[in-house]
Subunit: 361 residues, 2 copies
């Protein structure tokens, strides 16, 4: 309890200061919150506090290159929801609102805070994600999802054994049996991947969903943990083009693209992997633009991050960052990030990994 | 003195064990060395100790991806040299031996150890390196060399204001005035950079020297510091193609290459930087091969590093490494290195940065 009081106090001081409120207001609020914690063991944040906390948590996300826009996060307050159905509806609304016909809005939906004996979890890693199946012919779909896909099947979801099957939303309240729901198709945008010059690229039948909505991290603000608080921005192209489609343990498309390109894959020094990777990333950026879905290339993202660093400097705030995540996985040395160190100090409010809600096997 | 004794002891135990000698031999040698240190304040290593120490120092070099070949280092013992001329001659011999007509040999030359009042330093960062000049028209040559180039000019070296002027060797013994010497042209190999398909690439008039010979780090073995111990391997292509020629603060060639390629440099999302970078790296690898000069691409280097990790595991030795340096600056996520963590623990023997022998201004 001492820790909640301490973190609440610090959060209120910083937040009220940044919001330009008076010291009196801050002190008054601290007293109020302190009393609430002493009385009940927890406290409730105002919407303003929650909103600012979620934004600052983004600003403090060391692994995120997209932080220039931290102040433009849409915060949707769903802390009052108590049932799986209501939460499911809210998640669908989140998808719809964030997708916005392709003009993606950075958005977070915040569900009830963690309390003694009360816990809401969304089991999905991202709200929209493709299933992965281990079959005798090898993995089908996204191998990153294999374990969760098995869980869904155990819960009664029907596997489809396609490469791009959207997984259901799985919601758990307290220790109840988790419940799963299909996402209605009409809120989903998926982007078929074409290349601006190579027609054959379409034959690869690649597609990816429009909006990455991380749903398994907790939001930690002022001593309060929100274990269900899915948030999204828009994609940086390399996430899809240099990792999801390219990693050997994911869709592993580089060998096939190289083959279509007619590259000599026997000799590494032809740089066939780099060539295939470049065309794949070109195709991803091109396709999202063509489909009218927000996306940012890694050069522009790095420039925006530079602006973020400059803005933070003018506000006299330190920028913390995790270099190994901030550098893009394509041509990293062409960005300024590569050429400077970042301190990976963890500052709160922030988003944190949490234990998986389900166990292996 | 306690520290030298301790480090000597540890080094002897490990080295004699790895060399398959008996415990008796090790203990005998430790006693001998210990006595020498007590008597004189320092000790001399046998050639075998020095050789093994230099090799293990390479094996322990956390930033080096080339460590599979640590056991094949050629160690040249020049600890007896006392004059600048003799050291200069030895450096020229090093260049010649290591270059080997293009079939580069990993080589280190070891000059006198650091003692009270005795210190040999090679001022150059690498034995072969291009000068850099600040002029009214901007920087000419390699901006990485500007400060050292100024020093050379102060010492009487004649600047040539070309893009690829080989700097002189600058050698300092103790507190004497440093002396400079031109490297005879007949020991130098330089590689003109062509592209296998783009003829215009030759019009860029790029070239690079064949052998990177780091000469400003110290070798630290068994409590002894060798402040002059230049070592070389061969290049990994990206060092030249993704850093020396590409970095904005170095030769900054990407905009011009993109222009020759006819790319739209107004929009980052065309990935023009990545395209130019890829062709530049292709050209570097191609040109070195064509010229018969050893070079390794980053994919092959990563595979070799993987083999190194496997070999070390069979020897029950931990591999330490610095991830931020080990990942190549082109398509890093296509190598296994990107996908695992490395411990950056510093183990001795090792190569260390030392303070610059010259001061700014
Ligand atoms: C607006 C567009 C955004 C872009 C382009 C962007 C970009 C990125 C990228 C490229 C990563 C690395 C992902 C990876 O390598 O797996 C990342 C990580 C992250 N971002 Fe952002 N981001 C955006 C919005 C947001 C928002 C709105 C939040 C939270 C409110 C956020 C919080 C985070 C966090 C917590 C991580 C680390 C995720 C993890 O560890 O798996 N980002 N971001
Ligand atoms: C045989 C071929 C070799 C290859 C391909 C190779 C490759 C590399 C590469 C790519 C780097 C990073 C350079 C940079 O980013 O600036 C590096 C760093 C390093 N290598 Fe190797 N290397 C080789 C041989 C050697 C040898 C023979 C030694 C010592 C005996 C050595 C010791 C080091 C050290 C100490 C560093 C760090 C240098 C620094 O911090 O500036 N390497 N190596």
């Amino acid at each position: 309890m001492e820790q909640i009081r301490q973190e609440a106090r610090e959060f209120m001081i910083n937040t009220y200061y940044e919001l330009g409120k008076t010291e009196e207001e801050a002190l008054h609020r601290i007293e109020e919150v302190d009393q609430e914690i002493v009385d009940k063991g927890f406290y409730e944040q105002t919407f303003e506090e929650l909103e600012y906390g979620a934004k600052v948590a983004w600003r403090n996300s060391n692994r995120c290159i997209g932080r220039l826009f931290w102040d433009q996060l849409h915060v949707i307050d769903k802390r009052h929801l108590k049932t799986e159905e209501a939460i499911f509806q809210a998640l669908v609304e989140h998808i719809d609102f964030a997708t916005n016909g392709g003009r993606i809005r950075s958005t977070i939906s915040v569900f009830p805070q963690l309390k003694q004996g009360e816990k809401v979890r969304v089991w999905n890693h991202q709200l929209i994600r493709y299933a992965g199946y281990v079959t005798e012919q090898g993995v089908i779909g996204d191998s990153d999802s294999i374990e969760f896909t098995n869980k869904c099947i155990e819960l009664g979801w029907e596997p489809k054994y396609g490469h791009f099957d959207i997984l259901p939303l799985v919601i758990q309240i307290n220790d109840n049996e988790p419940r799963w729901f299909e996402i209605p198709e009409d809120v989903l945008i998926e982007v078929p991947i074409h290349h601006p010059e190579y027609d054959w690229f379409s034959d690869l039948n690649l597609q990816w969903y429009a909006v990455p909505i991380i749903s398994d991290m907790s939001l930690d603000v002022g001593g309060i943990t929100y274990p269900a608080a899915p948030f999204n921005g828009w994609y940086m192209g390399t996430e899809i083009g240099a990792r999801n489609f390219a990693d050997e343990y994911r869709y592993n498309m580089l060998p096939m693209i190289a083959e279509y390109m007619g590259l000599n894959v026997k000799r590494q020094s032809t740089l066939w992997k780099d060539r295939a990777l470049l065309e794949l990333n070109t195709a991803v950026l091109h396709s999202f633009k063509e489909a009218g879905v927000s996306i940012v290339d890694h050069h522009t993202a790095a420039q925006q991050f530079k602006k973020f660093e400059e803005k933070e400097a003018t506000e006299n705030r330190d920028v913390t960052g995790k270099w190994t995540w901030l550098i893009p996985p394509v041509s990293p040395a062409t960005t300024h990030i590569f050429h400077k160190p970042y301190s990976n100090e963890i500052v709160k409010p922030n988003y944190f990994y949490q234990g998986k809600p389900f166990k292996e096997g």
